[in-house]
Symmetry: C2
Subunit: 335 residues, 2 copies
DNA sequence: CTGAAAGCGCTAACAG
DNA sequence: CTGTTAGCGCTTTCAG
């Protein structure tokens, strides 16, 4: 059917081993033979069949990145970082989406079970700690962006707690005392960590935590609007809102504008992530930037290190954030 | 090293052929043997190695989707559509990003040359017609969203020309006569088609095309701002702007707001694509929606049809758009 | 309904 | 520096 290494060998007048050698630079081959082989490759239009190679070497040099969806630009830079470090090491990153669905995620993980890929990086997994620990024994997997408590698996995240703390501290420094938060329901640790950072910043500054200032909804930007509406209906309105994500912040800002409020004057809003929209929005959204590119680089580097030297790490690595000041959060006006 | 089909056969007291049969349901196997095999699979924790299977069958059941980057949510629904139709047919979609870089794109296409994947769908390719035609002879490839003139390759796009026409016609119906356009430089046919739709709508309504009302920049949202600034500096300002993409529309709107203009009153803006941001923005961006999910479904369906029946199509399929009315474009106020 | 055996394309000892 | 050969794990004739 197709032209194989055998055909090349025949055409070049050498053995398949020699062809393989020049293909992989795996041993010294005479200049003459090399030339013959390269000529044959060119004239025959030969492309090595990786299915054969992969089977033989029992590796594919592919890492699967499982993301919830491609709808959120948030993952973009993480993936770029992953790609950079993968490519430097002769690997490729292939991406697939789980829609945050456990069944889909398992179906995708099947690709590491059946050796279609060498490893998988899960960004925002639905798996529980037990499952992850099981898998980690047999396969190369890692978590990025979202840790799972009790999962003894390579994990790279931003310091969510400290990031939230800094965001809220910034609002406090702006003179805000009535600071609400928009978070998410469910067991996502990034959300919980950020809630804790929020609470700690309040406590450290003598501000009492108020249950009615904590809204928990979905990740959908629309729930930011819902939360903002709720807050603005309170007798004692907050003057600032810290959101677990920029998407929710956008929803909150949009609603506030709709209600005729001046963002940064009547109400300050701070997000988290620094997705592209935050810079594009009017007003620009003040936020906590995650070191996305570095998150991606790091997780792949560590993963490949483990594969290469066959010593699995289950390190938990925490990277630093950066506070990005824009127009959606401003000093509280004295009245 | 790992547990293979051989081990299962031994444990089940049958031949590897029988194991393979129950694995693939490829022939009738006695109830007893089936049970034995399934038990062995379970107790041994066996996972078939697809590297072996793939080599043997010379197929991977994977389709590669090559997108410029994951930063633009625009591709999200297309990919979902691709996945849906792939999964229905026992295939998986794996995604990779080209950064709109020709070299990277070729490197990725290598995955179809070396049989790592069965086919590739290129979304916004950098390849020229000759190259595409060459490849189409030997491999299964398709284009989506962006056609290439002269490429006799399966292509699925929206009707760019008609979409632009409808968008501009809508502005004209709103009473606008001074309608500018923000387009992109370079050879992208989607841009050219939309320019032509724009020009035709003008011509059909007795409006003369003015060179100074056509701005060509990059795809970056920031260039929408640049264009808007330019238009607002003209002596004879346009009252409406049609943008080749929502991203550019957002940039234009942002700048106009910055300049103190009222969107929808002082200036109307219409985009193209209907990416999520367009609904999130304040004001909402009026736009032309591409049938993304359908684009994705269709291209994979056609591609798989070609693979399955081994008759390659190089059809060019054009799907319909929908005009989405929001607040950024409104009737011109009479003065 | 089942087993034996060939072979997909490639790499890596091993022997020379 | 080079060729021979075994075999990666699997599917699929072919015979029974």
């Amino acid at each position: 059917m197709n032209v194989t290494i055998k055909d090349v060998a025949k055409a070049a007048g050498v053995s398949v081993a020699t062809v393989s050698r020049v293909l992989n630079n795996s041993a010294t081959v005479s200049v003459f033979a090399t030339e013959q082989v390269n000529n044959a490759i060119k004239t025959l239009g030969y492309n090595p069949n990786f299915l054969g190679r992969n089977l033989r070497k029992c590796e594919t040099n592919i890492i699967l990145a499982v993301i919830p969806s491609t709808e959120h630009a948030f993952y973009s830079d993480i993936l770029r970082g992953m790609q950079a470090s993968a490519n430097e090491n002769g690997y490729d990153i292939l991406i697939s989406t789980s829609n945050s669905n456990l069944v889909t995620e398992m179906r995708l993980l099947n690709m590491v079970f059946n050796r279609t890929v060498d490893a998988a990086v899960l960004l925002g997994t639905q798996l529980d700690a037990d499952t992850l620990n099981d898998l980690n024994g047999k396969y190369n997997i890692a978590l990025c962006c979202e840790r799972v408590i009790g999962a003894d698996v390579l994990t790279v995240t931003v310091d969510d707690n400290a990031g939230a703390y800094a965001a809220v501290k910034n609002l406090i420094d702006f003179g805000h005392r009535k600071i609400a938060m928009i978070s998410t329901e469910g067991k996502a640790n990034s959300s919980l960590d950020r809630e804790n950072g929020y609470k700690k910043a309040l406590a450290d500054n003598g501000i009492e935590f108020r249950e009615e200032y904590l809204f928990k909804g979905s990740y959908d930007y629309y729930d930011g609007s819902v939360a903002m509406e709720k807050y603005m209906s309170l007798n004692d309105r907050p003057t600032a809102v810290f959101c677990i994500s920029d998407l929710l912040a956008v929803g909150a800002v949009k609603k506030a504008i709709r209600m005729g409020l001046k963002i940064g004057e009547d109400i300050s809003v701070c997000g988290f992530d620094n997705i592209p929209v935050s810079g594009m929005y009017t007003p620009g959204i003040t936020t906590v930037e995650q070191p996305c590119y570095e998150l991606g680089r790091t997780v792949v580097e560590e993963l490949l290190y483990g594969i290469r030297y066959n010593k699995k790490t289950s390190k938990h690595i925490t990277l630093n954030f950066e506070l990005i000041s824009r127009d959606s959060a401003r000093p509280l006006k004295k009245q």
